[in-house]
């Protein structure tokens, strides 16, 4: 037999990276479902056998869950709670027992039938994400059938050298069994962006291409394979020319990745010595480890509203203390900046009040306006912050400030809360810094007045742009007007920084603009002291900051400030950034108007 030649297959790129390795092919193991008839006298024994297998499967799923929780964190392991519920679904168990009694068929056959009917109804589902969940039910079925028949679940035991896993699809159980030291990438025939294979690959930080038709049929165990997770390409048995080409591509990619990650423990400091605090935006305690892994210097924006939105009643003071302390402790000795509940606008919870019924929610009862009318909620949250301050270092900031009265009212409550806690005998940090978000043009115009009464400013770029340019980003007809490079926006940022520095307080920025590498040099040049961004973007932004001088950044700002339209500024910034960092910033393709 002649060796089959090179084969290029396209799929969906779901996790970046380029791998040249060999294929570890895992074919779907079809469980042979026995179909023996049960002696009517032994029906009870058959049903007992079914229940024993259920119990055994439960133990297995729990063990897998524990193992996955250790490897990938509780969040990923949660899916197994649902697996346990599938396993113990009363209806499925009753139907199986009824089937055994009625048809005198063995438990394997009966259970397979019952689950099979449920899986059939998944064909009707159109939503791709929901459809993929059928894989979870398959997973539970396979486990139970294995336990009933006594067949062992084939593990990835023989996966003992670095490989690319090639499979039809990966189940959650599969992902828990894979020894991550040996998996360089994943390629599957089925699946989409939200399949378990994709989720696994992204959380391991390995390349993955899914939905590759014809992959499993053409791949042989041990085949040389090139996996391009950037382009969504799988090359089986590549020719020497393809190998050479991809070796060069891979080298470039690896080098970039390596450079970015080597910076993890280094500060974000310019070549001429200006340090920028580069911190992460997060919204739940489990994101802390990701932030640290990416080299974040603390958390610059902790969005507390998600804690409130993820439940159907108000969290108590103690519940809040527990949650805030956990996050502060896990980031210690770095600082966490908590933003007080920012409800309203586009974030609602029925039990909290502000609702979609407002005609103009972004100009409505939101942020500090809400808190100052709901002292009960505000006070409880402030008390929780201060109580959590004994667990580590934190700062507090208020959203949606438009006037000094709001700042004074909020600070008065802070003082009151501190007094209460001292009297009640709680230990807390008396010097917690209190700052405000700058996200309205009004706040910028009076930044000099505000600066003398707070400890720091953090510019909320999304809202500041939206309120300045009077543009609703969600409205597709005008969303082109949402322009961070608008001269008005740059002037507002500059004015905020100048007012803050004149009063010796630091000025940061949180929001999407802060995390876009395109704007990094400009923001440094504008004099911002801190950028709080998505954890994923930290390595890239840090790399840029460490490659430039503060002088050169200020030069870019001077040039930009000399231009008069957003299009001109964007063109300038994009071309400078692309020339300087071609691997991080794409070329400016938009026509200059």
């Amino acid at each position: 037999m002649t060796a089959p030649g090179e084969l290029r297959l396209r799929g969906i790129a779901v996790s970046p990276g380029i791998v040249i390795s060999k294929a570890y092919v895992r074919r779907a193991e079809e469980v042979v479902v026995p179909n023996f008839v049960v002696d009517p006298k032994k029906l009870d024994a058959e049903i007992a056998r079914f229940h024993a297998a259920l119990a055994q499967t439960r133990v297995e799923i729990e063990a897998t869950q524990t193992r996955l929780a250790e490897q990938m964190g509780d969040d990923h392991a949660k899916i197994f709670d649902a697996h346990l519920m599938v396993l113990e679904d009363t209806k499925a168990i009753e139907d199986t027992e009824a089937f055994i009694r009625e048809h005198l068929m063995c438990a394997e056959f009966a259970f397979n039938r019952v689950i099979g009917r449920i899986l059939d109804s998944f064909d009707r589902i159109h939503d791709p994400y929901l459809k993929e969940r059928g894989a979870d039910i398959q997973d539970v079925r396979r486990r139970l059938l294995h336990n009933l028949t006594g067949q062992e679940v084939k593990s990835f035991g023989s996966l003992n050298e670095e490989s690319v896993i090639v499979a039809n699809d990966l189940s959650p159980s599969d992902t828990a069994m894979i020894d991550r030291r040996f998996v360089l990438g994943v390629a599957t025939t089925l699946g989409g962006r939200t399949s378990h294979a994709a989720i696994l690959a992204r959380s391991y930080g390995i390349a993955a291409v899914v939905g590759v038709e014809g992959l499993l049929e053409s791949a042989h165990h041990g085949d040389p394979i090139i996996l391009d997770g950037n382009a969504g390409l799988v090359i089986l048995r590549p020719t020497a020319a393809a190998l050479a080409e991809y070796e060069a591509v891979r080298q470039r990619f690896v080098e970039l990745e390596r450079q970015l990650l080597t910076l993890k423990d280094f500060p974000a400091i310019t070549l001429d010595g200006r340090t920028i605090e580069l911190s992460a935006n997060i919204k739940s305690p489990d994101e802390a480890s990701l932030a640290l892994a990416k080299g974040a210097k603390g958390v610059g924006l902790y969005r507390t509203e998600y804690f409130f939105l993820s439940r159907s009643d108000l969290p108590s003071e103690d519940e809040q203390v527990a949650s805030y302390s956990q996050i502060v402790r896990s980031l210690s000795p770095e600082t966490v900046i908590f933003r007080t509940l920012d409800i309203g606008g586009d974030k609602f919870a029925s039990y909290l009040g502000p609702g979609k019924s407002e005609l103009n929610p972004f100009l409505g009862w939101r942020g500090i306006r809400f808190l100052l009318t709901r002292h009960d909620i505000f006070r409880t949250q402030l008390r929780a912050f201060f109580r959590a301050s004994s667990a580590g270092k934190l700062k507090i900031m208020f959203p949606m400030i438009t006037g000094l009265e709001e700042v004074r009212a909020a600070c008065a409550l802070v003082d009151q809360v501190k007094g209460e806690l001292a009297q009640e005998g709680y230990a807390f940090d008396r010097d917690v810094e209190v700052g405000i978000m700058i996200e309205t043009p009004a706040a910028v115009m009076i930044a000099d007045l505000l600066a003398s009464e707070v400890d720091f400013f953090s510019i909320g770029s999304n809202d500041l742009i939206q309120y300045t340019l009077a543009v609703d980003r969600g409205n597709a007809r005008i969303s082109y007007l949402f322009e961070p490079m608008h001269p008005s926006v740059l002037r507002l940022i500059r004015n905020t920084v100048e007012a803050g520095h004149a009063h010796d307080i630091w000025v940061g920025m949180c929001g999407e603009v802060a995390g876009d590498p395109l704007y990094s040099v400009l923001l440094v040049g504008l004099g911002l002291d801190e950028l709080s961004i998505s954890a994923y973007m930290i390595p890239e932004v840090k790399r840029i900051i460490r490659s430039i001088t503060y002088d050169e950044a200020k030069m870019l700002v001077r040039k930009a400030m000399g231009l008069s339209t957003a299009a001109e500024i964007r063109h300038l910034v994009a071309s400078v950034m692309h020339e300087r960092f071609p691997e991080l910033v794409a070329e400016d393709t938009e026509e200059q108007s």
Binding site: A82, V86, R124, I125, R133, R311, S312
Partner: protein, 88 residues
């Protein structure tokens, strides 16, 4: 019998974990709970397998009915759960 209609508002729809949360809440009540959507159903509200086969995506309406001593509380709790996006 008590009945309510709620729109699924979480991004991923009534997926497996969301269905699990629904079942856990439903199981706290004695009432018999049935769930249907846009002409499909009604399935047992205490069965995760029944619920996921509805394949209810974001924006679809879930009809919840309960029959039993605590039917009013059950429907209210479940409707709130769905409206809150299953606490996601």
């Amino acid at each position: 019998m008590t009945r309510a209609e709620v729109e699924i508002c979480n991004e991923l729809g009534l997926h497996l974990r969301a269905a699990g949360t629904f079942v856990r809440t439903a199981s706290r009540f004695k009432a018999l709970i049935r769930v249907a959507t846009e002409g499909i159903g009604a399935v047992d509200g205490k069965s995760i397998l029944g619920l996921v086969t509805l394949g209810t995506a974001k924006g679809a309406t879930l009809e919840i009915t309960a029959d039993g001593p605590d039917e009013v509380e059950a429907v209210r709790a479940l409707a709130e759960l769905v409206a809150s996006g299953f606490g996601e």
